[in-house]
Amino acid sequence: MRDPHYAFAYLDERTKRMVRRALLKAVAIPGYQVPFGSREMPLPYGWGTGGIQVTASILGPKDVLKVIDQGADDTVNAVNIRRFFERTAGIATTERTREATILQTRHRIPETPLAERQIIVYQVPVPEPLQRLEPREAETRRMHALSDYGLMHVKLYEDIARYGHVSTTYDYPVLVNGRYVMAPSPIPKFDNPKIHMNPALQLFGAGREKRIYAVPPYTKVESLAFEDHPFEVQRWSRPCVLCGAVDSFLDEVVTDDRGGRMFVCSDTDYCGERRGRKAAA
């Protein structure tokens, strides 16, 4: 039930329009970080306020929303955000990737491929991929403007020189449409290939850092690498113990205090759907 004390989806219409303008600019310049007048939300900064503002600004009464955190619909922060929109917008929600028109996510891209007409909204803690290499924003802005990404390539090179491979496992930087280096948000690099040529619209919101960026449908997105050290994703030597999937990102679950471990899909909907199909067969 919608709480009548607040505007539809919490934000007032003028604020939503401001966010949508930033979104339009972001779609027009794929991978470019557009500053926007991020508002204080009733959830803490760093807990998805950017994604929430983006979702609130594009949400219509007929939308069906799915919210995941770590790939799961039932983690506390995902539950909290889903309930925030149920309360302030009264919209329908779902746990099924296929049924959602808008998906808000933290740290994963669903295993089930997204389709045209779907929008995925990423919660972004640090939108600036160069921030760990250069903390001054005035500097990183200049570097983006000049496509001066030498610092990033040196970092990757040093990793390879030191460890034999790149030591970044999540939030692995990508080059969008051959122009801007972009932080894909802290998804595991396993998910990076899904950003490339995805039929869905991908929107990224960083509330605390007050930036919005986007990857339009069917956009070329490459993970940074070298010819002789191509990009690689994580692989597991075993399938998910629940559904037997060999193609999904697995969470390691500690089962006892004697070193027992089991590996299960991080994407709960994907795992549940596969188990349902197996049970029906």
Binding site: Y6, A7, Y10, D12, P35, F36, G37, S38, R39, E40, M41, P42, P44, Y45, G46, W47, D69, Q70, G71, A72, D74, T75, V76, N77, A78, V79, R83, R106, H107, R108, P125, P135, R136, E137, A138, Y163, H165, S167, T169, Y170, P186, I187, P188, K189, F190, R208, K210, R211, Q234, V241, L242, F249, L250, D251, E252, V253, T255, V264, S266, C271
Partner: protein, 354 residues
């Protein structure tokens, strides 16, 4: 067999109930009223209004009650509420020179027109625990002169004007055309940030953070040589010019604390040696914050005054990006959100690297 942990929803509901219960404490103890908070915890209310950047003692008292006295949480509540309010208009700039003073001290002149007025300050209380307050026997002293004095300090013009008469302190005239200042609540912070934006950021900034940054400038990390030129606390009128009337109408009064720091400046090719200003302004009586703000504000002017930018307090990006308690508290505490996907990725990496 492992069953995926469900029940985040039920857990949240229970947690909400528990926090309400913990807030109330022992039900046999009378519940706090907002009036009590407003009257007897006025300095908490002032801090929450200042950093919550909205002047409303009732809402601030409510936020403090709801947050069980956690002021940073109360500031968060007030800010989130504030973000939903429409912007009805812009008041004229308040005139702190015509403040109805309750306190006014200067550390740079022994005596001056209008005099030194201590007003309500903890400065000379001697910090001895007052056990009569524990016994609730604290009698209310009637300060006979307070009402009489309030607002009647004759000719208490700003101390810095005395320096200005000799041309010894920089003038701070509005820029040509008096452009509207930036508004951080509508536009994101961009660097380099102009002075008005920096001041707004500092006014909303966390008191503890500014205190530490200000303190660092006194210990060799930036050299400000500050003097407390004037600290004044009292009421000012807020005036608005309604479009249909065309003249200012007083819409209320607010309490402010203003701090003008006087700092040395050796001069440059175009400017003779003179004193420079560091400015602090807060709602209510947040004197520590106002003074810290003035120190940091001055340090942040290093670049425009041609001083080296070497210390954290002089670095705009360092100070302004980390001053906001909502941003800092949110991001620090987001670490308790689940991170097991990232951690899994790191786990695999560390195993591979061994």
């Amino acid at each position: 067999m492992y069953v995926a942990v469900k029940g985040g929803e039920a857990a949240i509901d229970q947690s909400v109930r528990l926090v309400a219960e913990a807030r109330r404490g022992d039900a046999s103890v009378p519940e706090l009223t907002l009036q009590q908070i407003k009257q007897q915890l006025r300095l908490s209310v002032d801090r929450v209004m200042t950093e919550g950047s909205i002047y409303d003692p009732d809402l601030a008292a409510l936020a403090i009650k709801q947050a069980a006295g956690d002021l940073v949480e109360a500031i968060f509540l007030l800010r989130a509420f504030r973000a939903t309010l429409p912007r009805l208009g812009y008041t004229l700039a308040v005139d702190t020179a015509s403040m109805q003073l309750q306190r006014r001290v200067s550390a740079i002149f022994k005596d001056l027109p209008g005099g030194q007025v201590l007003g309500p300050t903890y400065d000379y209380t001697q910090r001895l625990l007052d056990f009569s307050l524990a016994a609730q026997m604290g009698t209310v002293p009637i300060c006979e002169s307070a009402e009489a004095q309030m607002g009647t300090v004759p000719d208490a013009s700003p101390v810095l004007e005395l320096l200005d008469q000799e041309g010894l302190i920089e003038r701070q005239a509005p820029a040509a055309g008096d452009p509207a200042p930036g508004d951080l609540t509508r536009e994101p912070l961009r660097f380099p940030a102009e002075r008005a934006v920096r001041l707004q950021n500092l006014a909303r900034g966390d008191e503890g953070f500014l205190l530490a940054m200000g303190y660092s400038t006194q210990r060799g990390f930036a050299h400000g040589h500050p003097f407390a030129g004037e600290i004044r606390y009292g009421k000012v009128q807020v005036e608005l010019v309604p479009e249909e009337l065309g003249f200012p109408v007083a819409i209320g009064e607010i309490e402010l604390t203003e701090c003008q720091m006087v700092n040395q400046f050796a001069g440059s090719k175009t400017e003779p040696p003179q004193f420079t200003r560091g400015y602090g302004l807060v709602f209510g009586h947040c004197e520590r914050k106002a003074m810290a703000m003035a120190l940091v504000e001055r340090a942040l002017r290093a670049e425009e005054l041609g001083e080296g930018v070497e210390s954290p307090a002089q670095m705009q990006e360092f100070v302004l990006s980390h001053s906001d308690s909502l941003e800092a508290s949110g991001f620090v505490q987001h670490l308790k959100l689940p991170h097991y996907v990232d951690f899994q990725a790191e786990l695999e990496l560390v195993r591979k690297m061994r």
